[in-house]
């Protein structure tokens, strides 16, 4: 994804991606262990069972804000690509509103429909990315990836942290656990999915460096798109940017939907709503507004995604809150009969 190539660009960025995947994998493994404690409840329900009502409220607010915020960032990021690359004359807001409305509709339909849509679209997205990457291996230059670790470990770690922040999205599962089939008792799919996504990321970033090289990638806003532009298979399959657009729309759409849905679950729990769908439209409107207001232009958005900002922000969600909950559980589990296993 274009946003992942933010920050320092150098030929070792794929090593950074591998590092990020490893970090994300460990991180999500811890999250999976935590999720096992909830016994099929949402994190908010778990906290309330622990007797930490106020903490539950605070965490609920944080998760709602997080959901809407990430949805709005994704909306903006997505719309910016559309405006920058495909539709120079169309206003940004058109793409934001159309996508947000679709996402709202899908989130309104509930988790069952979301999952079915995802099941349908997911193979297309993954297959498309892999095909693009394979096609780009065709014309790349192996020299692009050398020399390895030219500037030492520091930029790799920095790049790894940047990308690790995006794997933190799996924390959204904390709100979706009740929807899982009750036969699922171990949440090993969390680290596994992160590792799979990490593998895809490594492959993608590697293809970019391999295909167009570090120096060109540095100059482009959307290196991956530049890579797609270069693709030419037997001088027939060319100009597949439209294909890329389909992948791009579908994947972002799913992400936005899921975050809006999670935000609505969290809000619904917060205010004890019988029907969480009532808050969905306000949350969507909020996300649309934020997507327009938060950033003046695309470079600001990129600046926000620097490790100093976004990774710190994300570590609140994926490190601080889980750590807090873990401490709370350790302290309180003896007091609440039946909680200790």
């Amino acid at each position: 994804m274009p946003v992942l190539t933010v920050g320092d660009r150098y030929q070792d960025v794929w090593i950074a991606a591998a590092l990020a995947a490893a970090m994300g994998g460990i991180n999500s493994f811890l999250l999976a262990i935590m999720a096992g404690l909830y016994r099929g409840q949402t994190v908010l329900g778990f906290l309330e069972e622990l007797g930490a009502g106020i903490s539950a409220k605070v965490v609920g607010v944080v998760f709602t804000v997080f959901g809407v915020h990430v949805a709005s960032i994704t909306l903006r990021d997505f719309a910016e690509l559309m405006v920058t690359y495909f539709y120079e004359e169309t206003p940004l807001i058109v793409f934001i509103i159309v996508t947000a409305l679709l996402a709202y509709w899908l989130a309104y339909m509930g988790i069952e429909v979301i999952v079915r849509v995802a099941q349908f679209v997911f193979p297309l997205i993954i297959g498309g990315i892999i095909l693009i990457n394979l096609a780009s291996l065709n014309f790349g230059d192996p020299n692009n990836i050398f020399p390895l670790i030219e500037k030492g470990a520091a930029p790799i770690i920095r790049g790894g942290v940047t990308q690790w922040a995006f794997f933190g999205d799996v924390v959204i599962w904390f709100l979706l656990l009740p929807h899982l089939n009750s036969s699922v008792k171990k949440y090993t799919f969390l680290p596994l999915s992160v590792l799979a996504a990490g593998l895809l990321l490594v492959f993608t970033v590697f293809s970019i460096i391999w295909g167009i090289g570090n120096r060109v990638a540095v100059m482009r806003i959307y290196p991956y798109l530049s890579l797609v532009e270069e693709i030419s298979v037997v001088e027939f399959i060319e100009r597949v940017e439209g294909f890329f657009l389909l992948i791009w729309v579908a994947s972002n759409f799913l992400k936005i939907t899921l975050f809006l849905y999670a935000a609505s679950v969290s809000t619904g729990h917060l205010f004890r709503l019988g029907d969480r769908r009532a808050v969905l439209l306000p949350l969507t409107i909020l996300a649309v507004n934020l997507a327009v207001i938060l950033f003046d232009n695309y470079l600001q958005l990129r600046y926000f995604l620097r490790p100093e900002v976004y990774a710190v922000y994300m570590s609140i969600i994926q490190l601080a809150i889980p750590a807090y909950i873990a401490v709370l559980w350790l302290v309180r589990k003896r007091r609440t009969p039946g909680m200790a296993e």
């Binding site: 793409f95 159309v98 849509v117 679209v121 100009r239 940017e241 439209g242 729309v249």
Partner: protein, 537 residues
Amino acid sequence: MLKKWKNIIKKVFAKPRNESQAIGGGESKEPVAVSLESNIKHLKAVFDRCTDVIFREFEAAIGGGVKTAMIYIDGLVNKEMLTDDLVKALMYDVSGINSSAPVSDPAGYLSRSIIAFTEVKVHDNMMDVVHSLLSGETVLFVDGVSKAFTLSTQDWVQRAVTEPATENVVRGPREGFTENLQTNYTLIRRRIKSSRLKFETMKIGAVTKTAVSVGYIEGIVNNKIVDEVKSRLQRIDTDGILESGYIEEYIEDAPMTVFPTVQATERPDKVAGGLLEGQVAILVDTTPFVLLVPVTFPQLLQASEDYYLRWPFASFIRFIRFVTLNIALLAPPLYIAITTYHQEMLPTPLLISIAAAREGVPFPAFVEALLMETTFEVLREAGVRLPKAVGQAVSIVGALVIGDAAVSAGLVSPAMVIVVALTAISSFSLPSYFGAFSLRILRFPLMALAAALGLFGVMAGLLALLIHLCSLRSFGVPYIAPLAPTSWRDLKDMFFRMPWWSMFTRPRMTGHKEPARQDYMQKPRPPRRRPGGKSGQ
């Protein structure tokens, strides 16, 4: 306030139906009288001004002569049979029987020993008599007996079993359902010779009293689906059912969608296949279209021939069908989007030739496409409706208009003609006419989206379509079932048609009660010499 208006509207429009409309004048549960005259008088009152109802009075040669009367509807009965087996028999043949001795149960005696018919029913109230008469049975009254005998003499003019008009096959049975319910039962029963095949019949329609039958295979079908079908059918309260389309609209899950969630088919083999996979068939008298539920969208893309051809051919045809599905839905929108917004996606030589062809065209691509698509739909509709004699004229004019004239007049570009023609052919290559219909309707909004937002618009439209498809259900089964929720086991009969010996299981969604279709290990292999066997000889 809203409630008040609702009540007012209810009062004006939704008057409770007149009882006589439902039952008809003179039909009541009145008992059959002892006297022949009064029975005839009653029926003559009921069938006042019905010229096709025939009353025939004669004297049966029992015990020195008993006054009898038979009543039937001309055209619904087999007259030869009546003359030979009823009138002749009663007037001459029974004269030899000495029955002057008093009989304790005259009605039973008559139906057991005198009336020589295979199927005789005894009724004691006039409403049943009227209903049997209307469904083609002959009523026999005997003076002094307060019962009515109805004889199954139904025989009316009907179409023979012919090849179905909508779903043609190269390989496979050529029989299609007919308008006669009994024939349709036969067509299915001949394919499934099992006592587990059940048909439950009910009458729907207050005036038409159409026989509607629910067929399923006990043990394979999910009983909940059968109960749901029956309860939805019983809920129907209308004056008449003339075609299974009426039923379809009353029982479907999503009444507002363009996609059919009930499958209508003319092919008995398709119905038999569906029954074996746990579907429920709804047969309606007077129409050759049988409904199958629950149905999924991929099933609408499958033809019964897929299962008769060898599997590589069938899989190839399936693949072609997915291509044509996409062309039928997407070709015009993509053409509009690419020529309007994304010209850079075309290879340069192609772009130049398209641009040159569009040179003199006065309209934007969207208007052009709309024009041609509308013309085509008009031609298609005209082709269905027009009298056979003028068919040729219209097709010649149509070909000229859609092909040559429009281009040479400079109204549309040749590329557009190709796109529209391809789309038209593709949409008719789908096996389900009704499934293809929904795609044809959806093409128009997608074209508008493509004109407004280019590829993004098409993508947004497709996503909306996907959300809609994913949210649909047909009798509890998700509409795009083997795809999402994904069932790996069922994907073998989705994009490909795997060999028969490899399809061990019935579809998970409908056949999970008895999942095993057949034994494993049926792949044909060369015969092996059995130890000590006779194969060596």
